[in-house]
Amino acid sequence: MEWLANTLLASLTSLVLGLAVVGVLLAVLGYDPIEAYELLFRGAIENISIAVDRMALYVLTGLAFAIPALAGLFNIGGEGMAYLGALAALVVGYLVPNPLAVLLAGGLVGALLGVFVALLKLYRGVHEVVSTVMLNWILYYLARHIVVVYLKDPRYPDVSKPLPPQARLPPVEGVHTGLLIAVISAIAAYVVVYHTRIGLYMRATGFDVDAARYQAVNVKLASLASMALGGFFGGLAGAVLIACELYKLDVALSSLYGVGFNGIGVALLAWNHPLGTIATAALVSSLFAGGYNLQLHLDLDVHVVTGIVGVIVFSLGLPSIYTLVQRRLVLRKVGQT
């Protein structure tokens, strides 16, 4: 329990730090930071439907980072996986108008992309950070190319043809299907990572590669499996956007831009625990819903919130924040007794 309290405190510290740094920044640029905070917090409630939409995606891209991270790999490619997943979901949806096929298509192409990244690392020595970022850009332009040339809706500029109604998963009795899928995914990921043999291998590989090897853990298989699973959820994020939320894709991919990067923040805030991503995705998506208020009332841009998440991620990289918090806790205890 003390471990849980410490990690929660560290995450909270980084959140406060993120809000503080961006608040100072806005003050320097001539905005009223108090007003900005108020809009940000109110926005989470006022724009609750945006928050829920985003939350479903962030849980999934959070898993896309968290699972490989537990196996010691930095998957920055959640962004590209989501692009590819959305694209596959659309194409399969046109051909086979069935929601299950649409979702599976998105997940599978994401998993294949993850396997490709893992193979590049294992057999050609290409560091996953470099390959995933390059793939993000390649897939960004490729997806735009495919939407412009093959999937464009002739009636509207800059939007793909809509997904056939039979392939959609609209809310069922007020329950957001995308969020439901995301929560089930997080639970499934938790079970795989913490309650199966391959999950143990992944964690052993991430904890200490050499130790894992001495214990005859198949490190290559663990890396491949973690990237395949992470990639599956990354691709699923794109498919969920198509099947459950928008039913189409815009040429600039603006509805997906940033989901992968914010997923990294979600995962790190949850210390890469799959179940934790549900809570932290709620938090980060609330920030983004608040960001739309900044756009609406202060003429700022929603991507200012990316800056907040950036500071959060940066400060979570500093172990001293964690130890600082921990030390204060320990000291207080000593003082009390």
Partner: protein
Amino acid sequence: MNIELLIPVLLAATGPSAVLVLAAVGEILTEKSGVVNIGIEGMMLISGLAAAVTTHYTGSPWLGVLAAMCVGCILGLIHGAASAKLKANQIVLGIGLNMFAVGLAVAVLIAVWGNPGHSSPLPRIPALNVGGYSFNPFFLLAVGASIAAHYILTRTGLGLTIASCGENPRSAEAMGVRVELVQTLVTGLAGLLHGLAGAILVLGYVGSFTRDITAGRGFVALAIVVVSNWNPLAALVAGYLFGTAEVLALTLQAAYSTTPGISELLNTIPYIAAIAAVALYGVKARAPSWLGKPYIKE
């Protein structure tokens, strides 16, 4: 291909390759000392922004370059100190910086130019013209930086000191090297080069600041570091080749500008080239042994 057509491409490539070479040479220095910085992208974006804002208010692109170098150096020192002194997770720091840079760029663009996407056109650093051939003056700087870095790393005691921190910090410490200080300062120096790269991107190549101006160049620079096997002279060659690929893609785009969807496809060329180059030539490369691992004294 006709040689007459090739010369303008080769000359135009001096702009984008100056950016890539300086970013890669900076990264080679910091990685040789054992610190990995995947935040080059964010550092170039923030320093490019500093260059744009300074030039916008003073009218002098040279002051803009200076401001970018200062900002880059400060960011490098922060990354260096956080990595060396605080034993941070260097990859996570870089991811955070890259994200923060996007938020910062958007907020400053709105505050200064009133829109989240791009600045107004800025006064540029003029091209050099020698005998009728005009090229980017910063390319000479990039050549100089890579030669200097190669000389320092292979021919001086300082280079040995830097490399010892990245290969075996424990032995370095035993030899009296202050590992944490060396790593921090080298990363600061590298930040200065990243800042310069950001300034060139804005003031010497594109001519204005846009939100996505770096477009993965920081990560292409990381790929160049691996392909060049941590050799600054090889990074010069690789950087120039990538710069040429970029210009070729742009030239083809101009030729096919009327066909929808083609420019997007051509945009992928530099990134595919980067992955392919690392996959083909990165296998034999050997990274500094202690790269990216925090050195914790016993």
